[in-house]
């Protein structure tokens, strides 16, 4: 009986292909919108999270000057010194590594190849804060760091541009007029989600950059990495308190430095994605609702058109609930078919969108199942009224209907 009712519904739908497809359009669009948005949203969240993790999710960056904020002029602020980094390492608990960082953009030359890149002066702690392993060679020795000797570790992009496929370890490059021995090569890290090539850099001892290139003792930023399980918020507060003290900022005055906490960044970005997903999900839900009303409308028309048929069935001995079931099943088949088409379209659009936006395509089976169940439920809810209308017809009246 269930099977024959299903077959009957399918045949009835096939008889009016154009009308049926227009009827389910609302459901199709709603489901497709929800599936696309949730899938792409999930991929974007995963990508952002992965990017930040590659930066080092426990990374805290301290920079002089007030952070980027809307409006208002920013006061110029004094740079940090090495001693600031040492003070943080000494006085803030729960830290894995603290790296003072100074950067400079310049030409790197090896033989006939030359490449403009960022030269970063720091310590081995810099690599530790970023979970950045070497692909070859070695790190700086303490002696190298203290003396500021002319040695460097190349990022993957710089290595490719200057040396092609050859092993650069032991070779000498020139940074402006300064000869510098290559002692190591960094593993490839790829682009950040903001499109910056992280591998386009050369790491040198901080003192070397300060003395021989910049000619000062400034530190442009301090990278801090908290131990796993340590609250980055607490570390951030401790650093802020320490630096206010060291920079003699009186209570009530704003900081003249800012601290960027990667975990905050992650939660901010994830929050934004969630809001966006929820918003588009709501649009999809409204579309599903409108689609449901469309189905109700067409089912009512169908009941009117088929009044005589209903009359025949009732006269022959169909029970009220059998007629109800027939029309309800038809509505549910329609709406869940719309759901299936919507899921297919949504996944296809999500796959295309994920490729275009360069985010991973992550199939969320829970959302797919939910969308299907929801579309079937729309059929039940909006099909019930017309089906009851049909079931309650008076057979005598229905048979007389032209």
């Amino acid at each position: 009986m269930v099977w024959s009712v299903l077959l009957l519904a399918l045949r009835e739908i096939r008889r009016n292909v154009l009308r049926s497809s227009l009827t389910i359009l609302g459901i199709v669009i709603g489901v497709a919108a929800v599936i696309t948005m949730v899938t792409i949203g999930g991929g974007a969240t995963a990508k952002v999270t992965a990017d930040v993790a590659s930066l080092g999710s426990n990374l805290i960056e301290v920079m002089p000057g007030q952070g980027p904020r809307p409006g208002g002029a920013r006061e110029s602020a004094a740079m940090f010194k090495i001693e600031d980094a040492e003070a943080i390492a000494r006085e803030v608990s729960g830290l894995l590594a603290v790296a003072p960082v100074a950067t400079q953009t310049m030409q790197a030359i090896s033989g006939s190849a030359n490449w403009s890149t960022t030269v970063t002066g720091s310590t081995n702690a810099y690599l530790q804060t970023r979970n950045w392993p070497l692909a070859g060679g070695r790190q700086f020795t303490d002696g190298d760091l203290r003396a500021g000797s002319a040695q460097c570790i190349l990022g993957a992009t710089v290595r490719r541009e200057l040396f092609g496929g050859q092993d650069p370890v032991g070779a000498t490059i020139r940074l402006q007029k300064l000869s510098c021995q290559v002692i190591g090569v960094l593993a490839k890290k790829g682009q950040t989600s903001f499109g910056m090539d992280q591998d386009d850099m050369i790491l040198v001892p901080l003192r070397m950059l300060q003395r021989r290139i910049a000619g000062n003792t400034d530190v442009g930023a301090i990278s801090v990495s908290a131990r796993d399980g340590v609250s980055t918020e607490k570390v951030q507060r401790d650093i802020e308190r320490l630096l206010r003290e060291r920079r003699r900022i009186t209570p009530g005055k704003d900081d003249d430095f800012h601290v960027r906490n990667m975990q905050q960044l992650v939660s901010t970005l994830a929050g934004t994605t969630r809001v966006l997903t929820a918003l588009l999900g709501a649009v999809g839900t409204v579309s599903l609702l409108v689609g449901g009303i469309g189905i109700m409308n067409i089912m009512l028309v169908s009941v009117t058109e088929r009044t005589r048929e209903i009359g025949i069935r009732l006269a022959i001995g169909a029970l009220e609930r059998e007629v109800l079931m027939q029309f309800l099943v038809e509505a549910v088949v329609l709406s869940s078919f719309g759901g299936l088409v919507g899921i297919g379209l949504g996944l296809a659009a999500a796959a295309a969108g994920a490729t275009a936006l360069e985010v991973p395509f992550i199939l969320n089976l829970r959302i797919v199942a939910l969308a299907f169940v929801f579309s079937a439920a729309v059929g039940v809810v909006f099909g019930f009224f017309p089906a009851r209308q049909a079931a309650r017809l008076d057979p005598i009246e229905a048979l007389r209907h032209e």
Partner: protein, 233 residues
């Protein structure tokens, strides 16, 4: 079986209420035994259609009692009356009332679907019913591809496929020319003779009523005459 299949005791039907009330039937007493072939005649508005609807368990009397095989139909709820129709009654209508765009075979199968007959048996019985009405070879044709007479034969096949106790025919020849009409009447007579199906037929054509063994005439909601002799017209 003993006793009448159909028994009406003082059945009245009133539509509307108060001043606007219409008395369609005014106290009908009627008994029909198993195996009878009854023609119901009378001018339009005489109450014959109302009576048919009540006899067919599609409607219930306002007052009085309708006993179908001894069961008081008026006291049954809608669904129980539907089951009564499903198991004991067959209907043939003036306008055929077949499902459009549905093959003759599937139309005939329809009552068996509601009876829950298995598909295989359904096929066999529907084919037999179509053969019995002389439509062997027309199984896959839809109503649109059949003549009026053929459509009415399909409707008769649909009505007899369940082996009903009573077959109700409401002006079965009303839309047909006389040659086709005689064919249909011959078929109904044959079913009545050979299968013992009780036939109750409404008609306003005297030449069709002569096929029946008994003729009941209605006038103004009452039975005017009830004759058992052939050719009462």
């Amino acid at each position: 079986m003993n006793g009448p299949v159909i028994e009406l005791r003082g059945v009245s039907k009133v539509y509307g209420a108060g001043q606007a009330a219409t008395h369609a039937l005014r106290g009908i007493d009627l008994r029909i035994r198993q195996g009878e072939f009854v023609a119901v005649m009378g001018p339009s508005g005489s109450g014959k259609s109302t009576c048919m609807n009540i006899l067919g368990c599609l409607d219930t009397p306002t007052t009085g009692t309708y006993l179908f095989r001894g069961v008081d139909v008026g006291a049954l709820p809608r669904n129980r009356r539907a089951l009564l129709r499903r198991h004991y009654l067959g209907f043939v209508f003036q306008g055929y009332n077949l499902l459009n765009r549905t093959s003759a075979l599937e139309n005939v199968e329809l009552p068996l679907v509601y009876r829950g007959t298995p598909t295989g048996e359904r096929r066999v019985r529907a084919r037999q019913a179509l053969e019995a009405v002389g439509l062997k070879g027309w199984e896959s044709h839809t109503p649109g591809e059949l003549s009026g007479g053929q459509q009415q034969r399909v409707a008769i096949a649909r009505a007899i496929v369940t082996g009903p106790a009573v077959l109700f025919a409401d002006e079965p020849t009303g839309n047909l020319d006389s040659a086709m009409s005689r064919g249909i009447m011959a078929l109904l007579s044959a079913l009545n003779d050979t299968r013992g199906i009780t036939v109750v037929m409404v008609t306003h054509e005297p030449e069709m009523a002569i096929f029946a063994k008994r003729t009941i005439r209605f006038r103004d909601g009452r039975i005017e005459s009830d004759g058992r002799d052939r050719g009462a017209a």
